[in-house]
Structures are given as structure tokens and as C-alpha cells.
Symmetry: C2
Subunit: 208 residues, 2 copies
């Protein structure tokens, strides 16, 4: 391998492991690269787990990794917004890990407007931006809230735009469907995508 | 008005009434048409209410109407499927009124697979077709179930494809967003649309 390559970025699911098993050659290959002095990072488009969960999973497979070696779409979005737009109030269509990650970067998340009827026009006062993510707790209330905020001018961000997430026995709906629904209903387009294929995830990796 | 016109079809929301008030001239205009011997029908793309609810609402506004004078997208879909595909097992992303309407046409609706985890790949054995409708009880479980059924070859029907439904103070997400999400994720297209702008609703009206 060329000496000019200082580091490598590996995708996790389907590249380093599949389910809970390392893929053939992955453990040995990464060890060999590190012996050559290469810097190895791991990326995942999934915003569902914290970075230390991935680091522990890698360690269990025989690949040393710290949370700092792992980059997720949730981390990239939090890192980027904290640098560029730290004062936006975010409404998040996402799971608990993403909320935790964004708050960890000092970002503000507005409440869920639970006092309003989800079947009415929800008043999203105070929301500056909508964040759409892989969310297995998606509901009409969340879709309606995001829709109303986008209709009244909120900015439109997403962690990732995958159509479906591979799972044992198939795949389940990912953020791409929610984004498509909101884009179709509002005529808006996502303006910032943190995960692959956006180059934001690469930019953040290169700063490591 | 030309004598060759035997009947007229009126849209309801925003044409005959807005909210709970008749629009100016609607009551008198419809009465005049009927005095001329014209057959008047009322249509709504909304699959949320039974036809007799609309008939009662019209009567309260001073417009005589029976349930037979009213055509909804739910009625059109039920009527059409009962004539053409009466033996399909339907999985319905929709509200209670739609289930009731479809069952009233003798159609079979499969259960919600509640014993399966909505965060896993849901096995939709026995589903022949997915019906997508305006559904203010949309959930990740429903989206995942419809996705899995479509991925394994189920047919793809919808009551209506409106992006949003007008409401006091704005609009709320309608079936169009759910259709866009499922079309985007599966690469499939809705093959049968009951409501406007499909001509199926007109065909059913002309049989009246």
C-alpha cells in the first residue's frame, strides 16, 4: 500500500462485520494496517447507537477501538451543527441516542408539543430546524410536527438518507422514507445530510 | 344550463362548505339544479367519515342528501375491489372508518401482526395487497408492515394521494406522504388510486 495513505476509513455493517460476526480477513487486515502505522477509523450511517457501543463491539471481535475511532451520522451532525449553527432549536424525528448525542454537543432540542392534538395543525413555535433520522418510533404526531415546522420555514437536516436498514432476514424502513414523505408534502429538500453519501462524514473523519 | 347534462358532481370541502359553514350560493344553487331535474352527487377524497355523516352534515346545512348521494374515496375503493378483486386479503394503513367501509363491501382485512416486534422484519404472510389512506394513527409498525408486504410482492392500492388535508389554521399530512415514503423505499408505484384525480371515482359516480 502506498506510503502516502496515512489513514483508512472502514464502513462497519457488511464491511467489518455482519450481525455479530467479523467478516473473513477483517480482523487480520485491520491489524496489519495498524502495524504499518496507518490510522484506522470506523464509520456507520446508523444514528441508533453511541460510539462507545461500536467500540465495544469491535473490541469483542478482536479489533481494538476507542469511541474516538468511531464516527456515526449522529455524531457528524452534532459535531457539524455545534461548529456552524450552535444556536438553532432542533425538532428531532429520531430515537433516544440521537437526542443524547446532539445534547452532548451542546445543542438545544425543543419539546414534542405533547399538549397539542396530533390530529390538528400543531403550532411549532420556537423550532428553527427539523432533524430527520432513522426512527423506529415514528408516529403521525412526529410526522405532523415536522411537516408544520417545515411549512413555517424551519431548516431541514437529516442524519442519513438510507431507504432501509439491513436486518437479519431482510431490512426495515430507515430515514429515507420519512425524508421522501416530508419532501413530497412540503416541496422542500433536505439541505444538510450528515451521513454517506454526503461528504460531511468524510470531512469530519479527516479532521480526526 | 344545457339539457344534455343530466347530473352534476360536487366536491364537498371548499366547494359546498368550508368547515361547518355552507359556501355562499351553494345551498340555493344546488336547490335550483334539482328543480331543473338534475341529479346531484357529492364526492370527497377523505376516507375518514362514513357516507351518512356527510349526508347528515349536508342536511344540517339545508341541502337534502342521503348516503347514496355521497361518494367517498373509501367507498369507491371498496366498491371497485368488491367488483374486481373480492378475494384479496388487504393490509390497510388507514383509520377505523376505512376498515369498516371495506368490510361492508365484503372484503377481507388481515390483522396487524401485533405479535411481531415492529422494529424487526415483520412477516406479512397472507397479505395480498396494501391499501394506503389518510391515517392519523400512522406508526412505524404500520409503515414497516406495509413496506414488508410490498417488498414481498403485495399489490399497492390507495384511497387518495392528497399531500395534506386542509384544516382550520392550515393543513395536516394526508396519504400522499405515506405513499411517497413507500414508493421511495420499495421502488414500487401505487397501481390503483380510488379518489381524485383518478377517474375511478368518476366511473363509480356515473354508475349512480
Amino acid at each position: 500500500m502506498s506510503r502516502s495513505i496515512e489513514g483508512l476509513i472502514f464502513d462497519l455493517d457488511g464491511t467489518v462485520y455482519l450481525g455479530n460476526a467479523a467478516l473473513p480477513g477483517a480482523v487480520e487486515g485491520i491489524a496489519a494496517l495498524r502495524q504499518q502505522g496507518k490510522h484506522v477509523l470506523f464509520v456507520s450511517n446508523k444514528p441508533l447507537e453511541p460510539r462507545d457501543t461500536y467500540a465495544k463491539k469491535l473490541a469483542n471481535l478482536g479489533i481494538d477501538a476507542t469511541p474516538d475511532d468511531v464516527i456515526t451520522s449522529a455524531y457528524v451532525l452534532g459535531y457539524h451543527l455545534a461548529q456552524t449553527e450552535p444556536h438553532l432549536n432542533l425538532y428531532v424525528v429520531g430515537e433516544e441516542n440521537l437526542l443524547h448525542e446532539l445534547r452532548g454537543h451542546g445543542l438545544q432540542i425543543v419539546n414534542e408539543f405533547m399538549e397539542q392534538d396530533p390530529m390538528d395543525v400543531i403550532r411549532t413555535n420556537g423550532v428553527d430546524a427539523v432533524v430527520v433520522a432513522f426512527d423506529r418510533t415514528l408516529s403521525y404526531r412526529k410526522l405532523n410536527t415536522a411537516y408544520q415546522a417545515l411549512q413555517t420555514g424551519a431548516r431541514f437536516f437529516a442524519t442519513n438518507a438510507d431507504k432501509a436498514c439491513p436486518m437479519p432476514g431482510g431490512a426495515i424502513p430507515d430515514a429515507g422514507g420519512t425524508i421522501a414523505a416530508l419532501e413530497h408534502m412540503t416541496g422542500r429538500k433536505v439541505e444538510l445530510l450528515a451521513g454517506k453519501p454526503s461528504n460531511l462524514i468524510t470531512q469530519v473523519a479527516l479532521q480526526k
